[in-house]
């Protein structure tokens, strides 16, 4: 009676088994890559105007609040209206081709359409004003925008990432008066000491209802 498997058949079987295993692994990896999609960090999407935070914040040293005016009062930090840009750019670089869309917007009274970089799902409610008030600096989430020629996302903005801070905020806090300062928190706290803002309990900060409703 002969073997059920010839030597070659056996070889092929083994190869097939290996191939299937390989495919599964590859599939899993790619799947992870894809589902990781909305959380991809670091890429700077194209914008109607190649606005450089590096230039405005880093070089010119304009305060965040000049453009993001409602960051201290509202959940929404605020995106500057065309006219806010024009306060300067009606004088400066008035004929720079780069600023054409801006001038068009002002002339035609049509808003600019920026591409959103920091995006949270609809069911996650984030409030800028309270974070700023409690001494969470801009750079904690947005990174060194003063070094970003084009806006890019520094943080994954996953629930896990939010929780990391909500579970132990202290290392990320500084004196509220210095939240718009671009120097890292550690350094600031050496200078000004640890802030003693009254924080909600860790339990409150990790309640589902703190961010979801």
């Amino acid at each position: 009676m002969a073997q059920a498997f010839s030597a070659r058949a056996l070889l092929f079987t083994k190869l097939a088994a290996l191939a299937i295993a390989g495919l599964l692994v590859a599939g899993a990896v790619t799947a992870y890559e894809h589902f990781d999609g909305p959380y991809r960090v670091g890429d700077a999407p194209p914008q109607p105007i190649a606005f450089s935070h590096k230039h405005h914040v880093g070089d010119d040293g304009i305060d965040c609040r000049f453009c993001h005016a409602s960051v201290e009062t509202s959940s929404f930090a605020g995106i500057p209206a065309t006219q806010v840009c024009m306060t300067c750019h009606s004088q400066l670089f008035t004929d720079a081709p780069m600023l054409e869309p801006l001038r068009q917007s002002a002339a035609r009274d049509e808003p600019l359409h920026w591409t959103r970089v920091h995006r949270l799902p609809d069911f996650a409610y984030f409030d800028h004003s309270i974070h700023v008030r409690k001494g969470v600096a801009c750079i904690e989430c947005h990174g060194r925008v003063d070094r970003m020629p084009l806006m890019r996302r520094e943080a994954p903005l996953t629930m896990q990432w939010c929780l990391d801070c909500h579970r132990d905020p202290t290392p990320h806090l500084r004196d509220p008066s210095r939240v718009f300062d671009m120097t890292p928190s550690a350094a600031v706290r050496v200078a000004t000491g640890v802030p003693h803002e009254a924080l909600a309990s860790r339990r409150r900060l990790t309640d589902c209802s703190t961010c979801h409703r």
Binding site: G37, A69, T82, L112, T115, R116, Y125, I130
Partner: protein, 906 residues
């Protein structure tokens, strides 16, 4: 609304989703940020409130409207407004959906085809030019009751230019009888403003002052303020249809309309000490009224004939009511609607009307059947109808002009007791509608901007104007009460003929029919029957038995040649020999939501018989599927809604229900910060449903449509249960009880419903997978499930109109009341930024805010001084299904009734 029969598109969606997954296109689509061009004063993300007023039948309810990023999203009551005192009714709450309703008229039409404003103005002007010679004879204007000084001024202006012009008024739910009654009694037409807070004894004869009509919200508040056991008033109700007022009465008798008149006559006799035909309750009521001279009141319903109203005025005068419990103010109108519209119709048919301008209203649908208004309209060469929707009248008119919603217009309005308030726009007309004022201005070429028109009409400017604008009321504009002397008017009640009487009633949700396109109202369970998406012919069990019909069977109600076929509904507490037909249904042109549902009762309604008429009723054969949200209205001895007599209430001693009732196996969870809690006073709740719609508006709750509602899938987070087997009908609002040992939470496999540190049982929609175990395990059945993608259904608000602070739920997730978490969060963040605790009264839930009777108290239980903590200490306090030891944060106060001992042994 309904799951909208699934079309090919859904399969495409599915296919799309599948391929999306296949191609791993899971990265979110890039979304945009679109800033303003010019900076705005108000930062986005912060809600603003503006005062304005909503007018119905010429009388206004003052409201504060919430605006998020310039979009009106929620209506609240205006505490400064005398008709509101901060509360609202279902119509005001639902008006936000009306504003955003995509079915509203968007185009100016001439005989159905889109036309330009210029074309209309041109034709109108040329027509008027023709009429000018004869002083505008043949020019007619039809309005409802005019509560706006601005409009009055404009119309007077027109009248000056065209002396021969004639004005007509028509309100389907007019007050001809009471105003005529006043004329009989006082020699002039006046409106009554009641002061239930000053009344120890009230007798309501076929009247529903707590349930509908101008000022009812205020009436309910005043009434409730006198229902606390310490100083409790007594209410007698004699009526044919079980109204809210009847439900709240300490004594109630159900009588057919004719018998009501006899009862009133008997009461009058008894009051005058004459011997009267012995009718139930007459003696007791009479004694009570007399015993409380100056603190008692008799209220007559619109259904009673003018003479009866005159009689009631005389009785009140004898009881010393005027100035104390009732005051008189100039009538909303000097026109008798029925005659006015009949005259107009006559003239139209006679060809005496060349140009007709109809400002609002829908006479082609709701005018008295005998005037055949719609047919007559056809004879008018130039007819213009200004309305929110392209309705029956628009179709019958030559021109239709889309009207601006009251949240889109400048105007002014008058409260039920005469105070003037300003109507200001929250948003520019969404569909390019024009306000009535603009329409009149446009046609009578008056250049002034609507805003200036209002300022001029109210003689307001500068600081005064801005104050009025901010407060929503013009200070001290309430007219001084009229001092009137009452004449003697003979009243001989109609003799009680045997046979049926048909009673016409405004529908509790669609009113006269103007709210038929509103899905929220369509799906609002009617207080008396819990029916939704339909009206029905209401009769008593006895009468039904006589017909040999059961609920749902079709019956034919006929008056001579005119007949209506309607589904029957047996209503406990309804008078025998009478059949009540709610108006406002059977609309032909009420948009995709409101058309072709229910039956139209107007064809039976004459100018002469506006509220009741003799009729014949017979079984028509066949049945209609009526949908009720509550199949079982008996308590089965479980007493979910508790009731006690005044004596019991006064003798009961504090049960301290605020504290935990029973021992638990589980160690206590510490709640070191706030402990939110709610108490609902069944003694104050009148079952008006304002809370239900307020909640729907605040929390973006979708409607599901008749079919789905019939399957028990309504989404209301706070439902009002009704029980008929108590000593008195009981209304019980049931939101989530926020149990501390919540049964729902323990069984959720993914932790989608859990407790937060302030003791709120939160529902995390984005975590919910939809096992529905939580609902099974909820003894109160307050959880609602999205069986289909309801939030995308027909009749919903577009996303711009919904509350941005609340997640819109998708198909397959559970939802429920969360004590308006978004409001608590708003307050918490504010307080936290200011480094303080949330103050008492800083958080007001939507249901609490809307409630006319302040039946709902809400607050922080950890503060023993808080209102809710005090209320919970009341001896009437109890916990729903306490024996289950779920330890709810929401508890109840028992209903109390204050029967007259004399009546008991009558």
């Amino acid at each position: 609304m309904s799951p909208t029969p699934i079309t090919r598109r859904d399969f495409l969606k599915l296919a799309g989703a599948a391929t999306a997954l296949a191609t791993g296109a899971c990265t979110a689509p890039p979304d945009e940020i679109v800033p303003y061009v010019r900076p705005r004063a108000i930062a986005d993300g912060i809600a603003q409130f503006y005062a304005t007023a909503m007018t119905m039948q010429g009388r206004a309810l003052g409201v504060l409207v919430q605006s998020d990023m310039g979009r009106p999203t929620k209506v609240e009551g205006n505490p400064a407004h005398p008709s509101s005192l901060g509360a609202t009714d279902v119509f005001a709450q639902a008006s936000i959906l009306e504003l955003w309703d995509p079915a509203r008229s968007r185009t100016l039409r001439h005989r159905g085809t889109p036309a330009t404003r210029e074309a209309l103005v041109a034709e109108w002007r040329s027509a008027l030019a023709g009429l000018e010679a004869r002083g505008g004879e043949g020019l007619r204007i039809l309005t409802g009751y005019v509560g706006s000084a601005t409009l009055r001024a404009q119309l007077d202006g027109l009248a000056r230019t065209y002396p021969a012009m004639q004005r007509h008024e028509w309100e389907p739910l007019h007050r001809d009888n009471s105003l005529e009654g006043a004329r009989l009694a006082f020699g002039r037409r006046v409106d009554c403003a009641y002061r239930f807070d000053a009344a120890d004894v009230v007798v309501a004869v076929d009247a529903d002052p707590l349930g509908e009509g101008p000022g009812w919200v205020r009436h309910a508040r005043d009434f409730a303020s006198r229902r606390a056991p310490q100083s409790m008033s007594r209410l007698y109700a004699v009526e044919s249809f079980p109204s809210i007022t009847g439900d709240m009465a300490d004594h109630r008798v159900a009588l057919a309309p004719a018998a009501l008149e006899r009862w009133l006559a008997a009461l009058d006799a008894a009051l005058r000490g004459e011997a009267s035909t012995p009718l139930p309750l007459v003696e007791a009521a009479a004694h009570d009224l007399l015993a409380h001279r100056g603190r008692s009141l008799v209220v007559a319903g619109e259904g009673l004939p003018p003479a009866a109203h005159a009689l009631v005025h005389r009785i009140n005068a004898r009881l010393g009511a005027p100035g104390a419990t009732v005051s008189y103010l100039p009538a909303v109108s000097d026109v008798a609607c029925a005659e006015s519209v009949a005259a107009l119709s006559r003239d139209m048919r006679a060809g005496r009307v060349q140009a007709l301008l109809i400002l609002g209203g829908n006479p082609a649908y709701d005018a008295p059947a005998d005037v055949e208004f719609g047919a007559a309209l056809a004879r008018v060469p130039l007819s213009v109808h200004v309305s929110l929707y392209e309705d029956e009248t628009s179709a019958a008119c030559a021109w239709h002009v889309p009207r601006a919603h009251y949240l889109e217009e400048w105007s002014d309005a008058t409260a039920h007791e005469g105070t003037v308030s300003i109507v200001q726009p929250l948003v520019a007309p969404l569909h390019g509608g024009v306000s009535i004022h603009e329409a009149v201005a446009m046609l009578g070429d008056d250049a002034a901007s609507p805003r200036d028109g209002v300022m001029r009409a109210l003689h307001l400017e500068g600081a005064a104007w801005h104050t009025a604008l901010r407060d929503g009321v013009v200070a001290s504009t309430a007219p001084a009460p009229l001092a009137l002397t009452v004449r003697d008017v003979a009243f001989d009640p109609a003799d009680v003929a045997d046979g049926w009487t048909v009673v016409f009633r405004p529908d509790a949700a669609v009113h006269g029919g103007e709210f038929a396109p509103n899905a929220w109202l369509q799906e609002l369970p009617r207080p008396e029957s819990k029916l939704v998406w339909d009206n029905a012919a209401y009769v008593s069990a006895t009468s039904a038995a006589r017909l040999g019909a059961k609920s749902g069977d079709l019956v034919e109600v006929a008056r001579g040649a005119r007949r209506v076929v309607a589904p029957l509904w047996i209503l406990p507490g309804h008078a025998d020999d009478a059949v009540s037909l709610p108006l406002g249904y059977g609309r032909e042109r009420a948009g995709p939501v409101g058309s072709h549902i229910g039956f139209d009762a107007y064809p039976l309604r004459d100018g002469g018989f506006a509220w009741s008429a003799p009729c014949s009723v017979r079984k028509a054969g066949g049945a209609h599927a009526l949908v009720t949200t509550q199949l079982h209205t008996r308590m089965e001895g479980r007493e979910p809604a508790k009731h006690m007599t005044l004596a019991e209430a006064l003798s009961a001693h504090s049960a301290a229900h605020a504290e935990r009732p029973v021992e638990s196996l589980y160690p206590d969870w510490p709640y070191d910060s706030y402990r939110w809690a709610m108490a609902i006073d069944l003694n104050a709740c009148i079952g008006c449903n304002a809370c239900t719609i307020a909640c729907q508006s605040e929390n973006n709750i979708p409607t599901v449509g008749k079919e789905e509602a019939g399957r028990g899938r309504s989404m209301h987070w706070i439902r009002v249960d009704r029980y008929d087997d108590g000593p008195t009908p009981l209304h019980q609002p049931v939101p989530c009880m926020q149990c501390e040992d919540a049964p729902c939470e323990a069984v959720c496999p993914v932790g989608a419903t859990v407790h937060d540190s302030e003791g709120i049982n939160v529902q995390i929609y984005n975590r919910c997978v939809g096992t529905r175990f939580c609902s099974n395990n909820c003894p109160y059945k307050v959880r609602r499930f999205n069986f289909f993608h309801y939030s995308a259904g027909l009749g919903e608000r577009p996303v711009e109109g919904s509350n941005p602070q609340v997640t819109t739920r998708m198909r397959g997730v559970m939802e429920k009341c969360n004590y308006c978490l978004q409001r608590i969060t708003r307050a918490r963040l504010q307080a936290d930024k200011e480094g303080r605790r949330i103050a008492e009264g800083e958080v007001v839930t939507a249901c609490q805010a809307a409630c006319p009777t302040r039946a709902i108290s809400f607050g922080d239980l950890s503060d023993p001084a808080s209102a809710v903590a005090q209320v919970k200490r009341s001896p009437r306090g109890y916990t729903l299904l306490e024996e289950l030891n779920t330890r709810p944060r929401t508890t109840y106060l028992a209903r109390v009734s204050n029967p007259n001992p004399q009546a008991a042994n009558e």
